[in-house]
């Protein structure tokens, strides 16, 4: 009986220990680009403060971006974006949490296509999305991740300005590019 308890203890300890040498990669400076391609004007919003974690053992992806950090190059447009469209005071983050479908075995220097499925949340609206992306193990310590997907603003209750000096496209292309380091 005592041996059993000790065995169980060791077993659980082993389980607890596991995350320490897990395949967990994190970033706090991922790049995000939003491209708005309307018929008359095209512009980009950029931030390099994407926060994220990729855990290959537990198959978990979690990313978020403080939308206040997006810059489009025109201060007034940024202010309108925060104030009228994204309403960052109320909804400061864009978030994605999900899983990779079929985790590939990663070898150093090799790029693998993956699909992530999960919940994307912006402007207080959460939706299930599927994102194609690429994973590459740069070395034992670093993992690079890139992905792009489309976001329809109307899906997230973001109204499009009708009379503005910049035309905002209904469909925004989101490009993510991050190098994650082993924790």
């Amino acid at each position: 009986m005592k041996a059993q308890v000790i065995f169980c203890l060791l077993f659980f300890l082993a389980l607890i220990r596991q995350p320490l040498d897990a395949q967990q990669f994190v970033t706090d400076n991922g790049k995000v680009t939003f491209i708005s391609k309307a018929s008359l004007s095209e512009f980009e919003g950029k931030s390099n403060l994407l926060q994220g974690v990729v855990d290959l053992d537990k198959n978990l992806l979690d990313f978020y971006l403080d939308l206040n950090t997006i810059k489009t190059g025109i201060g007034l447009r940024d202010r309108h974006m925060r104030e009228n469209y994204l309403e960052t005071k109320k909804f400061p983050f864009a978030e994605f949490s999900g899983k990779i479908q079929d985790i590939p075995t990663l070898e150093i220097g090799q790029e693998k296509s993956v699909r992530a499925k999960g919940k994307f949340k912006i402007h207080g609206v959460e939706r299930e999305i599927e994102v194609p992306g690429k994973l590459k193990k740069l070395n034992e310590q670093e993992l690079s991740l890139s992905a792009d997907f489309k976001v329809l603003l109307s899906d997230y209750n973001i109204s499009i300005p009708k009379v503005m000096f910049y035309e905002l496209a209904e469909e925004q292309i989101v490009i993510i590019d991050a190098v994650l380091k082993k924790k």
């Binding site: 607890i16 095209e42 201060g75 005071k89 000096f165």
Partner: protein, 291 residues
């Protein structure tokens, strides 16, 4: 007993296995509050609203005759407008230089605005504080006065004001602006009602947002050291097509800071006048122009 230990261990394990999401944190808790006012102007008064680096703000301001002429005079629009053209260029996000030209008395004015404090979301800085200083010259033609034609210095006037503004809620922003104007020689030939050199006043500006792109606005400028009527105005700001349109009813027909204080607001009982400003910002020095 053993079961309890096992259960606790299992729970600890399960919690550590279920692994929480990243904690959501703002990149900058002390982010500057946006758009305390829609534009660097609110009705007639300058605001704490800064301009971005290397941008040029252009404002064209008008006031018309009193409303009492009714439809016959199209509510004052027939009675000739006082127009002020205003350009303000921001050298950095805290300092800008401006030049205006008011049609009444053909006054050219140079001014600067400096933003010392900017309100932040976490209230570490609870309000925005800006300063304005300006100097102007009346260039009207007084040659008919012959020897009494005022000299350049006699035509000069100066303005100084401090602006303290705060966005109290998503909707309500208020600004308090102690103001002063000084005329070197308040010549009666000038189109002002005051006859003193120094004018002190306290400006109150308000903005109440009624939708994403429009706000109700007000201004009240009680005079502190003279018997001129106090300036009252209220209006609406509309953002459209990159412009901010400001339509208002106001008691004074004058637009530059010195004339706003010394120019007077007519006799008690005089009606309001219609006025409007069109504000526009131009970005300069950018390679890729997107608009």
């Amino acid at each position: 007993m053993d079961k309890k230990i096992l259960l606790t261990l299992f729970l600890i394990c399960w919690i550590s296995m279920s692994f929480a999401q990243l904690e959501r944190k703002l990149a900058n808790e002390s982010q500057t509050v946006d758009l305390i006012f829609h534009a660097p102007r609110n009705i007639n008064l300058l605001t704490v609203e800064p301009l971005d680096n290397n941008t040029l703000h252009f404002s064209i301001m008008h006031t018309f005759g009193t409303l009492d002429g009714g439809l016959q005079n199209l509510f004052g629009l027939d009675n000739g407008a006082v127009i002020q053209l205003s350009f303000e260029y921001a050298f950095n996000e805290n300092f800008s230089l401006g030049a205006t030209r008011q049609s009444r008395d053909k006054v050219y004015n140079l001014y600067s605005r400096y933003h010392l404090l900017k309100q932040t979301h976490d209230d570490k800085i609870p309000f925005s504080l800006s300063f304005m200083a300006g100097a102007g010259v009346n260039t009207a033609d007084y040659r008919f006065l012959q020897n009494d034609n005022p000299s350049f210095s006699e035509r000069s006037s100066f303005a100084f004001q401090v602006m303290a503004g705060r966005r109290f809620t998503e909707k309500l922003s208020l600004q308090l602006s102690p103001m002063m104007a000084y005329f070197v020689d308040p010549n009666p030939i000038f189109l002002i009602e005051g006859d003193q050199n120094l004018y002190l006043a306290l400006g109150f500006s308000g903005k109440y947002k009624i939708s994403g792109k429009s706000s109700l606005t007000m201004q009240w400028i009680p005079n502190l050291n003279n018997d001129l009527r106090n300036n009252i105005g209220f209006g609406i700001d509309l953002e459209a097509g990159g412009h901010v349109f400001q339509m208002y009813f106001v008691t004074s027909q004058l637009l530059n800071e010195q004339y706003l204080l010394a120019g007077g607001n007519g006799a008690p009982g005089d009606q309001f006048r219609l006025g409007f400003n069109v504000n526009r910002v131009f970005a300069t020095g950018k390679k890729k122009s997107t608009w």
